[in-house]
Symmetry: C2
Subunit: 344 residues, 2 copies
């Protein structure tokens, strides 16, 4: 097996976020479930957008956020995800390319616009998301490049991609390529309701391919239909080699090889929780693919998540992330010289 | 003369900002003059954008920002400015409409995209702007609605609109309508280099129509070709009934009726100076059109500017602005019952 060219290759929805602050009353008026992600169509999107306060637009997407943050932390990253050939798509592609991320997916041709996620940030810092997947639903197996997956230490799959049907097939294919190339597969469960919609397929993919499963409390409980975190975590540790489980302000736990690493949440000022889990995963995977011990992977993950929470939007400022990077000169290391941690 | 329906009607460029943090070295590598606004074409815009770090997108435009902030402060506002019929244009229009701003300008038909301003924010909080006017250049006299101007206490004109040729004619026409309807005309000088490009026309418009001129130190010095602020301010007070002159961290002065009101800058944490002057003008004009004494207009202006400076982007959060609003229930007052201050 040759040394990998990329630390992380992500597959996820290519989304532009529209973030606006609002009161709790806005959520109740529009029947939104606080903290969740709801899929909406373009008609619903126009209705919600028309009622939303002025916002800011910023590139988003769960695994795309993780990839962007990992790249700012010094990882070599590739990403697959479908935009449309429109202005918001150009914004998304720009924001990946200028971070040095290899992002070869061609924009979709057709009527659908680039996916938008309408995010309402309530005064408690919670984010409530409404996603119009648009062109992202056309992502499929033809968008994969097996060569890139084979050259990546970790393949990172976004649970939200269980929603668009063509993407599921791509997941299985990508995971198979990674496995047969001696690489590792990480899966984010993304959202408890998304897990609920696709539990069987999620379980099967995790069982067959996941070296690493990344989830929060609600998601892991949903996946294994458990009421308490401890039981769900125990099952997770049997399904995947490493279970990376976040618990919000209560920190996180990493389960591997019969051990349990408890990680405290890094102290921060809660401004906007958008992207907290994505940033956590970025910190974890960056440290992990640079060969750090699991306790240190968790520590970097916590600090990275804290940065995401302390400002509006999913992706923290580059300057703050660079200060956290596992090796400040990470970008100068030829990735081929890095030895992904296979034996934690 | 009937009571006005709007406190402020603005005419300005309809622009979406792309804001990114960068080092001073980015400016020098791209031959940018820190703190200024440079007009660029779409080819230059692509080159700069391609080199810029990931950013956020947010509605901008100088007078558009003032209008948005004034609306959040409780003023009744109308706005004229040209977008294209594209995604960024839809963002700009959304952000005006949801603030209750009457914004009737139809998007341009044609190849040009909605104007973009590429803004580099350096570690000192200064913003350096590069504007591709795109569809905004097609704004012209046909886009005006005399009825709205006649029903507005103050017409607020953006100096930057001296650059696109068709807009100059619209300015003269709009100012004439305002004057003949017994309304007031305010002019922002926008940028010292813009004043330099169009000094003769600026002077003529200010002399003939300006009740209020809004400028910073460099702009007013450029307009009257003076080396020192005191001399420029003295001339300004002869040209316009009210001269509203900002001096950054040194606060501002308002000259009217032979009096000089000195206003201290409100204390703030400098994060991003984008829109500081626009927010200042919004605070001033909102208080002014609600009948406040000039000293109080300056005080609200300073506080509003401080809010703009303390976060990324030109337009402060609504919640913070609402707390400053001259009358917290301003939106509940029928504008017809407000008596714009004619006799300060």
């Amino acid at each position: 097996m040759t040394a990998p060219r990329y630390h992380i290759t992500g597959i996820g929805n290519a989304i532009v976020d529209v973030l606006a602050r609002t009161g709790d009353d806005f959520l109740s008026r529009h029947d939104m479930r606080k903290g969740s992600m709801t899929l909406i169509d373009s008609v619903q999107a126009e209705a919600i957008y028309g009622a939303m306060p002025p916002g800011i637009e910023a590139s988003g997407g769960s695994v795309a956020n993780s990839c962007a943050v990992a790249a700012m932390l010094g990882a070599e990253v590739a990403f697959f995800g479908k935009t449309a050939d429109d202005q918001l798509g150009a914004v998304f592609r720009h924001d990946m390319h200028v971070l040095g991320i290899h992002y070869p997916t061609r924009p979709a041709v057709g009527r659908d616009a680039t996916a938008r996620c309408l995010i309402l940030i309530t005064p408690d810092g919670q984010r409530t998301m409404n996603t119009d997947l648009g062109a992202a639903v056309s992502f499929g197996i033809d968008d994969l490049d097996s060569g890139i997956i084979a050259e990546s230490a970790v393949l990172y799959l976004e649970g939200y991609l269980f929603d668009p049907p063509a993407a599921q097939a791509a997941f299985w294919s990508a995971a198979k390529v990674a496995r047969s190339s001696g690489r590792q597969v990480a899966i984010s469960l993304s959202d408890a309701f998304c897990v609920d919609r696709h539990r069987g397929n999620f379980q099967a993919l995790v069982e067959q391919y996941a070296d690493i499963v990344v989830a929060n409390e609600a998601e892991i409980c949903s996946l294994f239909e458990q009421n308490d975190f401890a039981s769900a975590a125990e099952i997770a540790a049997r399904f995947a080699r490493i279970a990376v489980l976040t618990r919000g302000a209560d920190g996180s736990v990493i389960l591997a090889d019969g051990k349990c690493y408890e990680i405290a949440a890094a102290p921060t000022n809660v401004v906007d929780t958008t992207g907290a889990g994505d940033a956590y995963a970025a910190g974890f995977l960056t440290a992990y693919t640079h060969g750090a011990p699991l306790q240190d992977c968790g520590a970097l993950a916590s600090k990275t998540a804290a940065l995401a929470i302390s400002s509006i939007g999913a992706r923290p400022a580059r300057a703050a992330l660079v200060a956290l990077a596992p090796t400040r000169q990470a970008k100068d290391n030829a990735p081929a010289r890095l030895h992904p941690n296979r034996t934690v």
